[in-house]
């Protein structure tokens, strides 16, 4: 796709929010599946949880939490923009959302390792 008028922070915030939403939506069924193993086969759940100690899987999990955090703060930013009377602080909000999500996910990563 050719670049059409997209080189600005708000558009990046939008696309990040959308992609993270899609990412979460794709991950969610997998997450549900793994948890429901508890019902059918607790051993396999354990196996999975051990498997999740692997560095690569850690990274993937980091990504997921990152997605959730990005999407969460992005969504709050959006609703603040829509429902709170407009302030010119929008770009700051967008930046804050990103920063916040980064902090959380790094925290998660550091604690996990």
């Amino acid at each position: 796709m050719k670049a059409v008028a997209r080189a600005h922070p708000l558009w990046l915030a939008y696309i990040l929010h959308r992609l993270s939403g899609i990412g979460l939506a794709l991950f969610l069924p997998a997450h549900f599946y793994v948890l429901s193993l508890a019902l059918t086969d607790a051993a396999r759940l354990d196996a999975f949880l051990r498997f999740s100690d692997l560095a690569l899987v850690k990274l993937a999990e980091f990504g997921l939490v990152f997605l959730l955090a990005v999407h969460f703060f992005g969504g709050l930013r959006l609703m603040a923009l829509e429902f709170l009377p407009w302030s010119a602080q929008q770009k700051t909000w967008a930046a804050a959302a990103l920063a916040g999500s980064f902090m959380i996910s790094t925290l998660f990563l550091m604690r996990a390792i």
Partner: protein, 113 residues
């Protein structure tokens, strides 16, 4: 369902999820220390009405929210319209709900006295 209802449902489900996400993230960060085991998870959740309601509502909200979010994306990016669009998003919503409900049941109901 007109646009206005869909919009409100999407935003309201997001608002409902906001505290859930925070708690969920917090719990995860806390729980993940020292590795996760099935027993650990189940020990916390099984038989707990609180966690049942917590995750139950979470699942309802996320099913609505994600289905509606994907609905928009499918329409804008994949060109789905009308009945097809509604059908697909309904299926996504119900599918997520079914899987989510099963997972919640798995982690909360199993060990109930």
């Amino acid at each position: 369902m007109n646009e206005m209802h869909l919009y409100m449902a999407q935003r309201l489900s997001a608002l409902v999820m906001a505290p859930f996400v925070l708690v969920h993230l917090g719990t995860m960060i806390y729980a993940i220390q020292g590795g996760l085991t099935a027993a650990e998870i189940l020990g916390r959740t099984q038989g707990s009405v609180f966690w049942f309601l917590f995750y139950g509502m979470f699942v309802v909200a996320v099913s609505i929210h994600a289905a509606l979010g994907l609905r928009v994306i499918l329409s804008e990016w994949a060109g789905l319209r009308g009945a097809v669009l509604s059908g697909v998003s309904l299926a996504i919503g119900l599918g997520l709900f079914a899987m989510g409900a099963r997972a919640v049941w798995a982690v909360t109901a199993g060990g109930a006295p």
